[in-house]
Every structure is written in structure tokens, then in C-alpha cells.
Symmetry: none
Subunit: 204 residues, 4 copies
DNA sequence: TATGAATGAGAGTTCATTCAT
DNA sequence: GATGAATGAACTCTCATTCAT
């Protein structure tokens, strides 16, 4: 009934983080101002600082928040797939920027690269990044182990293979989101699956 | 008030680019001020703008310049090694951050990551990055082809293997320079060489 | 660090324009810095840019604003005078710099000259100047027509006479505010009235 | 024979003043940089300061120099005309900006307006301006007196009439060079000649 | 004379942050 | 909770001026 109802702290927090992630994706971390985030969130710049103590805090939280969201979405989706091989394929599908037309090219990876650069000098960010990355590799390793247990994959050190695949995807994704003329999403996808097939001994 | 002996334009240009690269490595692109570069170069801030029309121009040039320098140094060194396998090993040695104690950990890779982030929104940087990256993959592919011609390596698409190795190194290096507790320089080195050995059919 | 009680946007706007006009009058357009205006207005330099997007914008607006104020003050005063001849005399009184001891010599005319110079290259200023100038000549022409209707003045093209008188005052005022030793305020006043009397056929 | 021959101090001085006048006319005093003048003169910025002690000095001298040149050119031309009435007409012809198609519209007047603004706060410029202006009015008065002596003109205070005409031309010229839609060069010319005819009792 | 590298003193502008309302 | 006026600390960039060559 009331025209303007104050939102719960929790809602506002998320709204602002969402807005921040969107702005960072669009303009890059360095070009993101508090007022941009405020505008995107439809609130005043002052309110941003009311919820987050400083710009730095806001941006850090936004970066990990967005990555977290991505991870959760992907996990939820993959958990529903019965075959490990298909899980792996879906994971690659979703990780190759621009491979699935329904997802933007930049979105997750651009943020992820900002995380890297920031983590170089921000210890908290570095810590967060390590956690996120290990969780990511862990979930790949889990798929590998599940596939091995199910007989879908051959033997091999799951953690080593996970590190290989995760790193390869990182390295290739960089070039894909840069629109490198020689590294198309399709080529990235093919190479990732080829390496996975070779390492895990399955047919493509 | 007091003028100092002028240097040749060419020298100054390089001096300033060197200084800029050093500052960017140390503080990060976002935290690099013109006055930092000036101080590092031992000149006045005004002079920086005298040689480079704007801060943006300076930083862009510094990034590609530094990468170029790295590539040339590595090429020169590798060219002197007779065996392709040893060339590859040396290339990995030099690429793994912190693997050789005589090289700093950050240096090249930190700059390289700044290039990525910047290239996302700066078309000129994007163009430069693509050129640098292709040259890099090319030189790996050349080693592969030479090794195949010499019978050191087994068959395989040299360009594909080069892309695989280059991307893998990119992805792993990120984690290594982040001091990821699970990805040491040694582990990165081992994994790169293992993949190379497997793909190229040579003994470690 | 310490914030001061905010004023209404409208008030602040006028305060700043007033301050700017005062500073321009005192120091000249070329020597007017944002910080001068800020100091004069008793606020921080940042606030000036908060209200006016740029220094240029501020100065342009200040110039037309001040001229506008002058015109309104003069109009209000003249409207109260019943006789056209006396209206004309009062208009000349107020226009001759330094003629009335209670008015500063520079004030309006110095600003007006800055408008001229700026209008030479600033299209917006040129447009504003034309409007202000035509309004000014119009109000002289109106006095002339009223006097003719009332039989105080003889016949003649009111617009032509207005242009003559306005231009003559412009040209003379320049020399008066320059303190030209041969063109005193009194001489300017006498000459203007003499020309008016001759053109309009009234006794001084 | 020698490729580059140093110019005489006198020549260089004039070249630089000419260049400065041209730049000021084009860009306005406020936007004139030493390097602009240097470029226009085809020399290095350093040399400008070698001939003129400071930017201020240079600009002041350029302004009076250009005005001086204009006055001398006009005087020379008028002296050759036998009839005072025709002398006066020619003087008006040359003074109305844009009236004679072979002369630029801005040129002299734009510089002259810069003189006014600068003279407000620069005592030396003020002194120079007064001299130039009195010389100008004097030469008009001389024509008037010559015409009266020759019986071309009726009686009247020559100095007063000169002041009237000079001021009227100043005031009208401002509007003409501003491209005021209601004050064309022709209208200015007509009005000046009409006032002259009325004051001096001659037929147009 | 002439050049142009080099300096340094600003100036405008941006923007995170504060705080009265 | 929410706003937005206000501050002030940077920072980039400009430009007159100097001076070794």
C-alpha cells in the first residue's frame, strides 16, 4: 500500500551487488564509479556507502558474489545430469564464452579476469579467489571421480586432470573473449573435449 | 627552474617505457600515476606528457613494449639451443613464474594480465594483444615443427598443440602468480612438460 | 571533512552566479579561476562544478545573468518615470559609467565587454548577446515611441534613433571606463543628451 | 648562398608581431599560446621568448602594432583623396567591417576589442589605447576641419563631431562583427553617413 | 641566433566519502 | 533507511619559461 517501502537489508545488499556486477561487466572495474552502480541499482550514491563501507569493499564483494552465483547456477544444472561424460560436456558448454547463444560472451569471464588482476595486490581478494578456484577444480575432479567409479572414464589422477582441464579452459577462454581470430568458441570447445577424452579415455 | 642535459628522443622514450613497465608491474595498472612513472624515470611529470600525448597512450605502449622485450629476450635465448625438446623445456622454464630463482615471479605475467583486462575495452590494445599472442603461439608451433622434422617429436597438428600448450601455460600461470597453495611453480612445470610429452610423444 | 547546511539548489545557483559576476568584474574573464569564484561564494571549488558542469558553462551563464539583472533593475526603475524625456535622461544617467556616484564605474560595462569578446567565438554567447542587445535597443525605441505619442518628441524612425543612441553609448562608454582623459562621464552624458535632443527635437 | 641565414632582429620582430596578430585575430587573445605564434611564424617557441621577454609583452606589442599598421594604411590612403567629404566617406568605408568585400570582417575590430578588454587591467595597454584612440579621433577631426575650411562642411566643434562619429562607429561595429541580424554593414554605413551629413551639413 | 628538451607551477575536473535533513 | 548537497584530495594535462647545445 505504501508508495515507497524500505527494502530489507538483505534484499538491498543483493540488489546492489547485482548492480555492481553488471556495471563492472559493462565498463570494467577501473571505470566503475559508485554513482554508476547507484544509477544501475536505482538508488542514490549515498545509499551504496550506507550498505558497503567503501567502494573497495563493494567491488570486492561484487566480484566474489557474481562468481558465486555463476558457480551455483552451474552446479545446480550439472547435478541433474546422470552421466559423468555428459556432465563434463555440459560444464564445457557453459564455460566456453559465446558457445551457447543464450549466454553473453563476456559476462562471467570478464569479471573473473578482474578478480585475477585485483587479487595480485589485494590479499582478501587473493584469498577469495583461491577458494573459488579450488571449489571449481574440486567440482571438476568430482565429476572425474564419479565417471571413473561408474566406469565411464579410465584411470588417472582426478585432481591433476581437473587442474589440467580448468587451466586449459582459463587459458583458452581468455583468447575467446578477446575475439582472437584464430580461437573461436568452437575451436576452444573441441580442444577442451579432445584433451578430456584423451586424458580420461572416452570416445567423443 | 634548472634544466638537465637533454637526452636523445629515442633514449628517453625507452627509458620512460621501461619506467612505466616497472611501475605497472609493481603497483598495477589502475594504481599507476604519471607522477609515479616520472619519479621512477627520474624526470618531471611534465616530460612524460611531452613524450606521450596522454596517460592512456603511455600505458598502452608500455604494456606492449614490455611484452615485446620479454619475447625478444626469450627468442634470442631459445634460438641458441640445438634440440627442440630442450628448447621446449627452456621455454617452459622461463614461462613458469618463479621457477627459475633468478627471475621475479610477477614481472611478465602481471603485465600480461593487465593487457588482457585492458584489451577487453580498448580496441588498439586488443589488436596488439592478438598480434603478440599469435606470435607467441607461432614460436611454440615452430619448435614443435622443428622437433617433428628432426624426429624428436611424434606427429600431430603443430598449431593445435601450440595452442594447447600456450593456453595451458596461461591458465596455470595465473594460479601460480596468485600463490595458489595447490599450484606451485614445480607442479605447473611438471604438468606442462607432461602434457607436452604426451602430445608430442617424447620421454621426459 | 565537515559538511555545511545545504541550501536550496536555486539559491546556490544564484549565489554562485553572483559570485562569478563579481569576480569577473574584478579580475576579468581571463583571470577568473573556479577557485576564485568558490572563495567569493564561500564554498568549495568542487561545489561550483557540482552546479555548473564546467568552467565555461559557469562563466557564460554568469555573463548573461549579470546583464540580465542590470537590465531588469533599470527597466523597473524607468517604468516608474512618467515623462519619456525623463525616462531617457534616467537611462543615460544609469548608462554613463561613473556618472552617478552611487554606482561603480566598471561593473556592468566591463562585463558587457567580456561578452563581446567571448561572443566572437562562442556561438551560444553570440546568440545570447544578440538577444540582450536587441532587448536593450527595443526598450530605448519604446521610450522614443512613447514620447512621440505623447508629443514630447518629434517624428523620426524610432528604431533607427534607438540604434543610434545605443551604439553611441556603447562607443562612448568604452572610452569612459578606460578613463580616457578626454572623455569624462560628463562629456559622454552631454553628448548623448545632445544627440538625443537633436534627433528627437526636444529642449535639453 | 647559405641555406639558413639569420634574419635581422628588426625583420624577425615584425614577422613575429605579424604572426601574433594573425593568431590573435583567429583564435582570440585568451586562446593564443606562444607555440601557436611560433608555428604561425615558422620558428620555435623558444625564439619567441628570445625576442620578447614574456608572453604578455609579446601580446601587448602585437595588439598595438596591428592597430598601428591599420592606422597607417588608412592614413596613407586617405591623404591621397582631395575632397574632405570623400575622405570621410572612404574612412567610413574602411571602418565598416565587411563593407568592402576585399577586407575581412573581423580583422581589425576583433583585435581592437581585445585591446579594450586588456586595457581595463593593464596600465600600459590602457596608455597605448588612449594614444591610439586619440590619434584616430584626431584624424577624423582633421578631416572635419579641412572640410570646414574648404567650405564642404558647415560649422561645428570638430572635436565633438569627431568624438561622436568615432564612438558611433565603435558602437555599431561591435554589432556588425557579431553578425547581429538587425545591424548589417550597409545599415551601419548608412547611419554613420547620415549622422555625419546632419552634423556637418552636407548632402549625401 | 635558433632549437627543443625539460621543468614546474597551476588549473580544471573527478569522485569517494560525509552528513544534515 | 534514504537522499543529495558539500567537501577535499588527488590526478591529468597545459603551457610559459629556461637553458644546454
Amino acid at each position: 500500500m505504501s508508495a515507497v517501502r524500505p527494502k530489507s537489508t538483505r534484499d538491498r545488499n543483493q540488489e546492489i551487488l547485482d548492480a555492481a556486477a553488471r556495471v563492472i561487466t559493462e565498463r570494467g572495474l577501473a571505470e566503475t564509479r559508485i554513482s554508476d552502480v547507484a544509477e544501475q541499482a536505482g538508488v542514490s550514491p549515498g545509499l551504496i556507502l550506507y550498505y558497503f563501507d567503501s567502494k573497495d569493499r563493494l567491488l570486492s564483494e561484487a566480484l566474489t558474489y557474481a562468481n558465486d552465483q555463476f558457480f551455483l547456477r552451474m552446479s545446480r544444472e550439472i547435478r541433474r545430469i546422470p552421466s559423468a561424460k555428459e556432465q563434463l560436456r555440459r560444464l564445457v558448454d557453459l564455460s566456453v564464452p559465446g558457445y551457447l547463444p543464450e549466454f553473453g560472451k563476456l559476462d562471467e569471464w570478464a569479471l573473473w579476469m578482474e578478480v585475477w588482476v585485483r587479487a595480485l595486490r589485494d590479499p582478501q581478494m587473493a584469498k577469495d579467489r583461491e577458494i573459488l578456484d579450488q571449489r571449481w577444480r574440486q567440482s571438476i575432479a568430482d565429476i572425474v571421480r564419479a565417471g571413473q567409479a561408474a566406469g565411464e572414464f579410465g584411470p588417472g589422477d582426478a585432481d591433476e586432470i581437473a587442474l589440467l582441464l580448468a587451466s586449459l579452459m582459463d587459458g583458452l577462454a581468455i583468447q575467446v573473449i578477446m575475439n582472437d581470430s584464430q580461437v573461436s568458441p568452437e575451436r576452444m570447445h573441441r580442444l577442451c573435449m579432445a584433451v578430456a577424452a584423451k586424458e580420461l579415455g572416452f570416445e567423443l
